[in-house]
């Protein structure tokens, strides 16, 4: 039945549905308004609730393949943490995570909060192989897995790490994850084992439905896909920029919502056409019989 339409037409349609809004957006600079859903609002509130100077563990569990969805989240989260004068301790369970973390640090901290000092106000402890094994170990001994920061300084000498021996010592943990190991493993090994700890997750669309079953119990808040990123971006912008114009770095997710809309509309149109064809053919067959 699908033979009636060469799938390449569908591909062409999708290409135009995504490419044209990007160009339109690039020329006009317009974005759609966002109203936050509860899981995104919960993320925002959890960070707002922390007292100034609290240390937050932030894990970059993704790589370039998913940065389209996750980098805007990381950027907004980092901006929010910095604005609230919280201290992120950055780690990664994916080998390419630290590079993404460095990018976020360079864009947000070095660009907009140049007074913050590495080792005191934030730190990147880099990547550790072992996936969920790492999570298991940091449950009891954080420094065993992350003995040095990314520039090689032992964590014992970093003021930001003072008194932190296990993952439970952080009041808040954020994972930005694209798959395995990621949100699910953080829930399994960290959130379940440390009842007092607050876990937030930024996840890709594909993980969202699975991770949803942990919210709001084992997972206090979540940012689901680019929509979650856009909502969070809007929340943070409203809190920090107010009426001023938000710098383009912090509108990335909202800019991506226009291609999103047209992509979705195309898909819906395709489903409707597919069904219309199906039912008309079925009707014809029934008449023929």
């Amino acid at each position: 039945m699908s033979g009636t339409l060469d799938r390449r037409w569908i591909y062409l349609g999708m290409m135009l549905a995504v490419a044209l809004p990007i160009l339109w957006n690039g020329v006009t600079g317009k974005t759609f308004p966002e109203s936050p859903t509860p899981p995104s609002q919960a993320c925002f509130d959890a960070i707002e609730a922390l007292p100034e100077g609290s240390r937050v563990l932030m894990s970059f569990d993704y790589d370039p393949a998913s940065e389209g969805e996750l980098s805007p989240m990381a950027t907004s989260l980092m901006r929010h943490l910095m604005h609230k004068r919280l201290k992120p301790v950055v780690i990664a369970l994916w080998p390419l995570g630290p590079t993404k973390a460095e990018e976020t640090i360079a864009n947000v901290i070095k660009g907009d909060f140049p007074d913050r000092v590495s080792g005191k106000d934030f730190v990147n402890l880099g990547f550790q192989t072992g996936g969920e094994g790492v999570l298991k170990v940091i449950g009891t001994d954080f420094r065993k897995q992350f003995p040095l920061d990314r520039s090689g300084t032992p964590v014992d000498r970093l003021p930001i790490m003072e008194g932190i021996t296990k993952v439970g010592d952080f009041p808040l943990v954020i994972t930005i994850s694209a798959g395995y190991p990621g949100g699910k493993e953080w829930v399994q090994y960290v959130s379940s084992a440390n009842p007092g700890l607050v876990l937030l997750a930024g996840v890709t669309g594909v993980q969202a439905s699975q991770i949803y079953s942990y919210y709001p119990g084992q997972l206090r808040g979540m940012l689901a896909a680019i929509k979650g990123a856009a909502e969070y971006e809007a929340l943070v912008s409203a809190a920090i920029d107010g009426d001023r114009v938000t710098p383009p770095l912090y509108t990335e997710a909202r800019r991506r919502m226009a291609p999103q809309l047209f992509g979705h509309l195309l898909l819906i149109a395709l489903i409707i056409i597919g069904n219309a064809v199906y039912f008309s053919q079925r009707g014809r067959k029934a008449v023929a019989q």
Binding site: L23, G26, G68, T129, V187, Q218, A224, P248, P259
Partner: protein, 352 residues
């Protein structure tokens, strides 16, 4: 030579593809000649001097100092600069060298654009550009993971445990381990057994490390799944069927929600029953369970579509923003290219 790139002889298709690639090349050439051009990468050199001091614990600490400090060591790094920064620097001092074009990164950018288009071309059918890209990615990624495994795992976790002073002097000056750790011999032994497979004698002992991995992780996963998936998920489902709001009033909607969740979990579990035919009560429950499964899959599908479109948008952004310089939402360049293109078009039209 053609058999080196053709898997099967199909000259007709080959011509079609060459035509397509040529057309793209012409379009790109036209684009490159309009306005400020396209696809260049700029860099600047960051040079920092470091000077050493010995701390209380006897460790040598290096700190950044002003250039030219006596006894300091200078490290030069080449870092990205944006086209806008380059233009600004050129406007201030023409011919300056602080910010300059990087030919290797420009080449990389064009290569990246080629690979992007080559992968997209697979949607229209298998073709030499895709096959070339496929061969590249297989080779590069296999090598990539070997390198990552070596520097991120073997050196710090194995070699550094066995020969700490050597590793410290060679590549990990901040290594904390100081003594030989005999426990590291166990994974080394398992690894050697594994690699012994490459020799004809080693087939039998090659199974042992495999058995070790499978056994330990079977145990580990049993624990984690029972703990987080059975206990926690069951606990999360033990909710009252009748719910009241905070003010003590009956909350019918929350009650319906709770009843649906509990009922849905039980019915879907019934679908997974194997040793009873799906007839009678079990069959009816399983049928409802399938409905829940379908809704679950539908929602997962919808959410995933979001993610995939965002990724596609990111790739188009790479092509439009970083390579073709068509739009500039981040304000990294100084001239709006679309208006430049419009200007060029009107100039061409006027000329005609």
């Amino acid at each position: 030579m053609s058999d080196a790139i053709m898997n099967e002889a199909s000259p007709q298709q080959g011509k079609w593809w060459i035509g397509l690639f040529l057309a793209i090349a012409v379009l790109v050439a036209i684009r490159a000649s309009i306005g400020e051009g396209m696809g260049r990468a700029y860099v600047q050199t960051d040079s920092t001097s470091y000077s050493s001091a010995t701390g209380d614990d006897g460790r040598v600490m290096w700190t950044a100092v002003a250039d030219g400090t006596a006894g300091s060591v200078t490290i030069e790094r080449v870092l990205f600069a944006s086209a806008g920064e380059y233009r600004a620097a050129e406007a201030a001092t023409p011919g300056q060298q602080a910010i300059r074009i990087s030919w290797d990164r420009t080449l990389g950018l064009w290569l990246a654009a080629f690979f992007t288009l080559a992968i997209f071309s697979f949607l229209m059918g298998d073709n030499p550009a895709y096959k070339f890209t496929e061969s590249i990615v297989i080779g590069v990624s296999a090598g990539y993971w070997m390198v990552v495994g070596f520097w991120a795992m073997l050196v710090p976790k194995l070699v550094a445990q066995l020969a700490p002073s050597m590793v410290k002097a060679w590549c990990m000056p901040n290594l904390d381990v100081s003594a030989f750790n005999p426990v590291a011999l166990i994974p080394l032994g398992l690894g050697i057994m594994l690699l012994s497979q490459l020799t004809p004698l080693g087939r039998h002992i090659g199974r042992w490390p495999l058995a070790f991995v499978i056994g330990t992780f079977a145990g580990l996963k049993m624990i984690s799944h029972v703990e987080s998936d059975i206990i926690e998920q069951a606990r999360a489902t033990m909710i009252p069927l009748v719910a009241f709001g905070d003010d003590g009033s009956f909350a019918p909607w929350d009650s319906v929600r709770n009843i649906l969740i509990v009922g849905g979990v039980l019915c879907t579990l019934a679908y997974f029953v194997f040793s009873v035919e799906h007839k009678g009560a079990v069959g009816r429950a399983a049928r409802v369970g399938v409905w829940f499964l379908m809704i679950t899959f539908g929602s997962a599908f919808g959410f995933t579509v979001m993610g995939r479109i965002a990724l596609l948008a990111a790739r188009f952004e790479f092509l439009f923003i970083d390579w073709l310089w068509l739009i500039d939402p981040k304000g990294q360049r100084m001239v709006a290219t679309v208006s430049a293109i419009a200007g060029s078009c009107s100039a061409i039209l006027n000329a005609i």
